[in-house]
Symmetry: none
Subunit: 360 residues, 4 copies
């Protein structure tokens, strides 16, 4: 009984909404005629002065209580939507959005696939030597891992830190992956590296470059699958729009990767955002992965984070594995050695605990 | 000279605009009634699910050519403007909100006042000994400081840290303030301490208790002015509502205090939020102060933060001063000794730099 | 071979460490003799003036490169540790810390237990009526749920929002739980409510009161198990110390609850911190739970978050269930109705996906 | 008069203190050698695992009576002081670090200078038309503003938003600045635009590209002054290291710009970090500016934020000014129109309020 008072008011809102909608459609029909006239006259459709006068007139005519500022804002939005539609550039549902009922998208990455059953992507932070990357690839392949990661161009906070082996590192990575039948993943940091980087099977955009839009546009044109990592303080909306840059420039093969966000907590390098995985799985049909090494920044909670990622729906877990983490040239604190990787794998595959609640 | 072919079409647009405007004003009147009903029902005004359904219905009903995405966007903007307007109205109706044209509120605190010209509140983190608090009071009074702070009940992260001298500390604080003609400020952490604490002139609610609503209600009944510090991750809206708890329970004499919020930055204990001061000065007529010691957590930037606070409109600056910070039993890193306080004062009073831009 | 250069230097550090250690032990033996002398003389052990002079002398004598400020700080810490030890209050390993090899702790809560197999805690945000709480209890019990939650005293942002039914709400909650053989959980917000609140089986400390230390001390004395929720921007260290307040005041039966922390992301009410669960499970033997409703602030990702919590080691999941969420007087956006709870339960119990990686 | 029984004991303490001091200084010398080795190896100085093992070994070796917990605490403090000292040394040795006693650095930017008296940088978010940018430049120049900003390549969250006029926009900006005797500032987003962009006087790196290291390296080689904005969740250490990329690649003319960081607060687009300005002014001799428009994301608090920035030591304030903000193609909510800019300027130049405290 409590709620009955809202129903008639809501019905009034619904009627007003439909009247507004009808007017908007009438209005755009008139605007279309104006556009056609202007085309004949050789005039541009967008006329900022006319728009300004129109808005000023409306604000002056507004009796309230709808606020003046909101009137100005809304009619500016109406004008913008009108121009964009008539110029053929209207805001549409994002290409990367999951349409009603749309299934997950999957695609080939070298000899394997992303977006089907969950995968592991593992390997060292940086490619450091032939011995290092080949031994890692062989070890991981022997454990069934199909994706080998390894940085060739390393974005480092300080210019005096190890910057990666570049072209040489990439060649070692590709050769190690080929030998073991794995797909390989490397990070790209500059549009000018792309031609070379396309020797890898999957091109990673790191957290610092999630909104390096010129790089994203080039990746849209490059024909290689892309692994797009979330910026360290980026919203999911920003992540999806960054993916849209790639897809709208021609490349539909993009996977997203949660890797933790910055917070006040000091026990971890970042705060791993499990909700992001759950939400992205709803919002987009693209594959969603989780990089647990960068989220944690420490070795001892990689297994529970990996389990949590899979439990929340992630289609892949990425982590750093190095034959001798103590002498790694980057990320020494968070890489697993081989025995620790085996323990990780065992922990990852333990079943979920049964709830006490369900005993009758 | 206007193009004659466009004029009648533009006139049609103008008519449609006015019809849209009229509908928007009708719509917000209905929304206001819904808001009033919801308030009685204890429901929040903003209902994202209802909004989602409403927009889905409109998109489905849209015959075009106005684009679906633009319909969704515009009605979402209309809903947002409506909620903001009606919540704005609500916020303006809080007792602590600044009404149109309302002047700053000021009130007596012991022998002095808050809310008029900017004041300094200074003193040790904790009252530790008679010698400590009396020497501090005498020193500060000699510099013109009128408010003496000092903790008697200290909320400490660990139960094994110094918890304050309690009743004895309070008595020392009050006696030291009285001797030097100062008003005194102490923190209260428990409704059961209030009777005793009312011997102080100003009762501080610390950051950990900003939403200890039972304490706030008692402070509303206690007849002493209150200094309410912002929670370490509280929004301004939550701070104003916390103040409203006190004022609505009978005590109009509340001052607000920005003291930094938690972020990822590690160079400071908290991130001092200067915008909060600027916004609070608009949103409320209550006095707004700034605790620079807890914001910074270090001594070397107290002066620039104090200057910034005053420049942004703060009506007071609070900081920790101790005769011998190195042996302080709490907050040793951030308290100023007496010579450093003198330097702080000199820096605080330096005029703002002249802009280069203004040379003709 | 790369690392060999560090070994001899580290050996030098190790030797110096042991020499420092020996001196510290000699020093505290001398300090003990001073204490004994002072006891005979009736003098207090802690002598701030002597400490100041001692530190000043050391700073003056310091040739560097050890920084002067660090010298002052370290000797102040040495003096503090000495005084604390000799006064019998030294910082010890926290009572709530997991000792090497220590098993999980579990304890009875009403007719059930926390800390053994994972449990569900479910029920409405607030107790609103007899019909509401009894129907919820019966429904949940029929699904095997053993813990019934329901707020009697509600901490609300605004003083004008529904504040809970208080004593009446508590009585309804207890009666509903008893009828269905469940344990019941309610939030306490004021030390003065405790006597009454102890009719419930488990007393919850909410996120806003995690550092309400006076309340924690009383809970330490009250003899009822406590569910301590993490503050909305509290570090794990602060959470463990808050638990230590309760345990060190006499109550060993504390469970911890992660419930999301505040970040910039707007799609969720808070950011659920799965790492916190993994780390707390290492750091403490106390039961660790997860409140997914307050973390998410929305219904549609409760199941993946609950699964992730269990996968990361949580010993319980808490969530809000209400017969008619749309008319709930608080948290309407995030409560599940009964059919949605059934779907949640089904999703929670689905096994983890098998990794593609492991096919040979 | 000293107590005779205590004197010999105190003398023993003094001797032990000096021995401890000597060991601490020896220890830090060894640690410095380790630091130097690690730098060659590309390893971070701070190694929590080594520290943990070292402390565990000491606790095990500790015969007492110095308490185990105090041993752990003290050696952790010693390690911290050591790392801080040695990292401080490292930081001071960055090219962008302020050396002891080093004066502020200033440099020419087109016909004007950065780093001397505070300046204003103003202009529209994006260059939109000839009329728009020329009228803005003329207006600003008439108010004494010497730096004109305007975006040619706009990094936008969505690929469907206005992306800037590119080359045409840059030409308009430069021409408008030249006509009015102003220096001009534009954002660069791609190393491949640099040759063209060097027609502007000052090249801005936006918040999304602060760690686009390849772009920074090119800017190091390009011979134009750079305005480097802080990343939206970057620490000051990361900002200084980003500047170091530019300077170490050959370009000493870098100015830093605080522009707000991401937090939970929703009333502002970002949280303006005044402490950052105060700390950067200590840490580096490079010019430090403040972008108040992007910090606030709203018009109504630009003046108090600008005042606060100057009060904290900023050497410039940047803000967005547009002839008609309501029709701006980006950042419509935060740009000032001309009359509002005049009001901003008046507010900016009001003197700081006199403290009540100083009346005798």
């Amino acid at each position: 009984m409590e709620n009955t008072d809202l129903a008639p008011l809501r019905a009034q809102i619904d009627v007003l909404n439909l009247e507004l909608l009808a007017l908007l459609n009438q209005r755009i029909e008139v605007a279309r005629k104006i556009r056609d006239q202007k085309r004949l006259l050789g005039q541009p459709l967008y006329d900022p002065e006319r728009e300004l006068k129109m808005i000023a007139a409306l604000v002056q005519a507004n009796p309230g209580p709808f606020p003046h500022a909101a009137v100005a804002h809304l009619f500016s939005e109406i004008a913008r939507a009108t121009v964009e539609h008539l110029e053929g550039t209207e805001r549409r549902s994002l290409l990367v959005s999951r349409k009603a009922g749309e299934a997950d998208r999957s695609f080939a990455v070298g000899p394997h696939r992303l977006g089907d059953a969950p995968v592991l992507i593992a390997g060292p932070c940086s490619v450091e030597s032939e011995e290092q990357i080949f031994s890692t690839a062989r070890f991981l392949a022997s454990r069934g891992v199909r994706f080998l990661r390894g940085g060739a161009w390393k974005p480092r906070t300080s210019p005096y830190e190890f910057q990666g082996l570049g072209k040489d590192g990439l060649e070692l990575l590709v050769a190690a992956a080929r030998e073991s039948g794995m797909a390989c993943v490397t990070e790209v940091v500059d549009p000018r590296h792309l031609e070379l980087a396309c020797n890898a099977d999957l091109l990673q955009v790191g957290t610092r470059n999630m909104q390096n839009f010129e790089l994203l546009k080039e990746l849209g044109r490059c024909g290689r699958p892309v692994l797009l990592k979330r910026g360290m303080a980026s919203t999911l909306d920003e992540l999806l729009n960054a993916a849209e840059y790639i897809v709208s420039h021609g490349n539909p093969h993009v996977a997203l990767c949660e890797r933790g966000v910055r917070t006040f907590e000091k026990q971890t390098r970042n705060t791993f955002d499990t909700s992001a995985i759950a939400l992205l799985r709803q919002l987009t049909p693209l594959p969603v992965l989780a990089d647990v090494s960068h989220a944690a920044g420490r070795r001892d909670i990689l297994a529970p984070l990996g389990r949590a990622a899979l439990a929340a729906g992630a289609q892949g877990v990425m982590l750093e594995v190095h034959p001798h983490p103590a002498i790694a040239r980057s990320d020494a604190q968070q890489q697993l050695d081989f025995p620790a990787f085996d323990a990780f794998l065992t922990a990852l595959e333990r079943p979920l605990t049964t709830l006490d609640a369900r005993a009758p």
